[in-house]
């Protein structure tokens, strides 16, 4: 995925035409506004219109499937409390995500430090993934108490696994030539990790982070379903219990928006701080 050797153009050392025609590394990608933004937006609006019309024409009861307009007015009416629920969930997602990073990074470094450690830990990691988190959540509430902690643990358990795997793969896939280069300059183990392996793993780490942030939202909601007095997950449970389906739909839409926004935050952080990483992924996809 990282092409060290684009075929050489002309050999003329002083000529600018020698530069390979690769995409510019930078914050903004060239994008086709019409096709990338307006087209999906148009399709989305069309869907909303069909939905609204279908509910009106077939007179579907509001507790079964509320029309978009009803979701909007009911949610706006509760804007204050819904805002608080959103902030509570956001807090769980972000904290759980940060815990995932703080634990995954050293864990992946530790795992890849030797084949013995890797084969000792890896099955345990797989085990944590085979446990259904929804089933684990009530047990965690008993163990850890009815507070924020079990929600954070669930969020972490759902989000961290792909992150550990992505970081470990990144650290392991450093080309042998690069490690040999380090050795030829007498790099210590720490220098090799800090100056070669970790930077090389950055694009892999960000792929993992993008998966992890999406899963963190799922984890937070699962945690809130089981034990919470605030949060969008809690709101969905209580709203549906009283057949306030439009509010539940509103919470659902806010969760989706939260997921998209957080995902984009990760993408933007990558573009700003690791432009070469973002660029390498763009050409890999292109």
């Amino acid at each position: 995925m990282n092409s060290n050797n684009p075929p050489s153009a002309s050999g003329n050392s002083s000529s600018a035409t020698d530069v390979a025609d690769t995409p510019k590394i930078g914050f903004w990608r060239r994008s086709n506004l019409g096709q990338d933004v307006l087209l999906p937006l148009g399709v989305f609006i069309l869907l909303l219109i069909v939905w609204e019309a279908a509910v009106q024409i077939f007179t579907i009861p509001v507790y079964l499937l509320p029309a978009p307009s009803v979701i909007w007015t009911d949610s706006i009416a509760l804007a204050g409390p819904i805002g608080e629920h959103t902030l509570a969930t956001l807090r769980t997602v972000v904290l759980g995500f940060i815990i995932s990073i703080v634990i995954s990074l050293p864990l992946a470094v530790f795992m890849t430090s030797s084949p013995v450690i890797s084969s000792a830990i890896y099955p345990l990691l797989v085990l944590t993934q085979s446990i259904p988190k929804v089933a684990l959540a009530p047990i965690l509430v008993v163990i850890l108490g009815a507070n924020e902690l079990p929600r954070l643990v669930i969020t972490f358990l759902v989000a961290f696994f792909p992150l550990v795997i992505a970081i470990a793969i990144g650290l392991m896939s450093v080309p042998a030539e690069l490690l040999e280069l380090g050795r030829s300059f007498k790099a210590s183990k720490f220098q090799e990790l800090y100056r070669i392996r970790l930077p090389y793993a950055v694009p892999f780490i960000f792929s993992g982070l993008k998966v992890a942030i999406a899963l963190a939202v799922v984890g937070a909601v699962v945690g809130e379903f089981v034990n919470a007095d605030k949060g969008l997950g809690y709101l969905i449970i209580t709203a549906t219990a009283f057949f306030k389906t439009p509010v539940a739909f509103g919470a659902l839409i806010l969760l989706s928006i939260m997921g998209i926004v957080l995902f984009q935050v990760v993408v933007i952080i990558e573009r700003i701080f690791f432009p070469w990483s973002a660029a390498s992924q763009e050409t890999a996809i292109a």
Binding site: N4, P7, G11, I25, S184, F185, K186, S277, S280
Partner: protein
């Protein structure tokens, strides 16, 4: 002075069999000589270079540089691999400075020195670019600058132009001759190309395969500075012909 004394290297292959990569290599190289090593695939020429660099240890025999036995990579050695192996996350300038960072030898004028080297190979103005923005030939030029940044006495080059197209390759050969003239050092240069081997060398070490042995050492007394016009020279033709015989001769027989 580099002294290679009865050097052998045996690799254990995956199925447990021993593969003799190098057998009983002895060679003495005087300071500031340009030595090229040429031979068929599998003759152990890259292994010989890696042994000289200290990246791998010999099975028996030794490599001695200035009376010290090589046991690990030395600070007075620079290496250029077949691939540029540049760090994709670092600018060209930082890539060239990388060895100094690793060896904690960065000084106030290091950046100036790196710029000077890049200018010398025609990469002036490209300091802030990333490797992916350069062509293969330019990347390899940067890799050569990186090997020179700590001013090594010995430059080990493992088929450095092997991945380049033919035209760039010829240009790079002349470039390395120019660098060597400006900054004399001992160069061990592994190549597949017989023309390249003769053009560059004071002495050509011709190797044979399975096991890797020195078939013959050919002294090249052509005048310097050299260009590709020297290919027409009678002695050039003779040397090249002799190398071809050594490498391909036994196949015809």
């Amino acid at each position: 002075m580099i002294e290679i004394d009865r050097l052998s290297k045996v690799f254990r292959s995956r199925d447990g069999a021993d593969v003799v990569a190098l057998e009983d290599i002895s060679l003495t190289i005087d300071d500031n000589k340009f030595i090229t090593i040429v031979g068929p695939s599998g003759c152990g020429k890259s292994t010989l270079l890696r042994l000289a660099s200290g990246l791998i240890r010999p099975t028996s025999g030794s490599v001695t540089i200035d009376r010290a036995v090589v046991e690990e990579p030395r600070q007075d050695t620079g290496i250029v691999f077949q691939m540029p192996v540049l760090l994709p996350w670092a600018t060209i300038l930082d890539n060239v400075l990388f060895p100094l960072k690793m060896m904690h030898r960065e000084e106030a004028d290091s950046t100036e020195q790196a710029r000077h080297l890049l200018g010398m190979v025609g990469l002036g103005g490209f300091e802030g670019k990333y490797p992916r923005e350069l062509s293969g030939g330019m990347q390899q030029r940067a890799a050569i600058c990186r090997a020179l940044i700590h001013d090594p006495n010995i430059l080990l080059m493992d088929e450095p132009f092997g991945a380049l197209d033919a035209l760039t390759r010829e240009e790079m050969a002349l470039e390395i001759l120019r660098i060597w003239t400006n900054q004399p050092k001992t160069i061990l240069f592994v190549t597949h190309s017989i023309t390249e081997a003769v053009l560059l060398a004071d002495r050509v070490v011709v190797m044979s395969a399975r096991p890797g042995r020195i078939a013959e050492i050919i002294d090249v007394d052509l005048p310097r500075p050299r260009t590709f016009e020297i290919e027409a020279h009678h002695e050039f033709q003779q040397s090249a012909q002799r190398i071809r015989e050594l490498i391909f001769g036994n196949r015809r027989g």
